[in-house]
Amino acid sequence: MSVSVQKGDFDVGAEIGALTDVAGAGAVASFVGVVRGGEGAEAIRAMTLEHYPGMTEKSLADIIEQAQGRWPLLGVRVIHRVGRLLPGDRIVFVGVASRHRGAAFEACEFVMDYLKTRAPFWKKEETAQGARWVDARESDDAAAARWDKGE
């Protein structure tokens, strides 16, 4: 179970390889988020990710701990980049290993949903019309709230 917050890129194949190598793992679900470019005047030229050092790592570790409490997980890896990124660049990786695919898929989506609404990262986009902070999406709050139902 490990968390990295870093400026540099990561090696998706190596990360998933480490998860498939965990003893007993039969299923590895993973997610990669990428900077979208877009078209025309709204096209994103670059994106800068600001974060709250210290709290970032703490909140991601807490999210993983919650996932481990809900599903029988054999491995969890979270990587989030910070700093300036260009369209097509990888932003985030979440990988989860479990014996069976149901737990792996659910836990991976849970970690992403919680990361999106609880981990202190903020995106600022640069377009032809200037720089602007990205607004939080209500759909992300709704996605995270799904996991609280029936508790």
Partner: protein, 82 residues
């Protein structure tokens, strides 16, 4: 008592402040600290937005959270990572 206050992202830019040491009376909460800052004047109004989140010692908290000497308090807009 003294606390360190941090501001992030659009809130940091709107306030023009990144961090500050502030002396508080005993019994202060996140809400009372926030009210004290907003009362300073026009520059501090962005802190009154309903969407502003708070963390104490790097954990998300509600406004009623009591503060202690040496606490690190952070105010920021809704997060947009991932």
């Amino acid at each position: 008592m003294n606390v360190t206050v941090l501001f992030f992202a659009s809130l940091r830019e709107a306030l023009g402040v990144e961090r500050e040491r502030i002396a508080l009376e005993a019994g202060a909460t996140v809400d009372s600290l926030r009210a004290l800052l907003i009362a300073r004047g026009e520059q501090w109004q962005p802190l009154s937005r309903g969407s502003v989140r708070a963390a104490v010692n790097q954990s998300l908290v509600t406004g009623a959270n009591m503060l202690a000497d040496g606490d690190e308090v952070a105010f920021f807009p809704p997060v947009t990572g991932g």
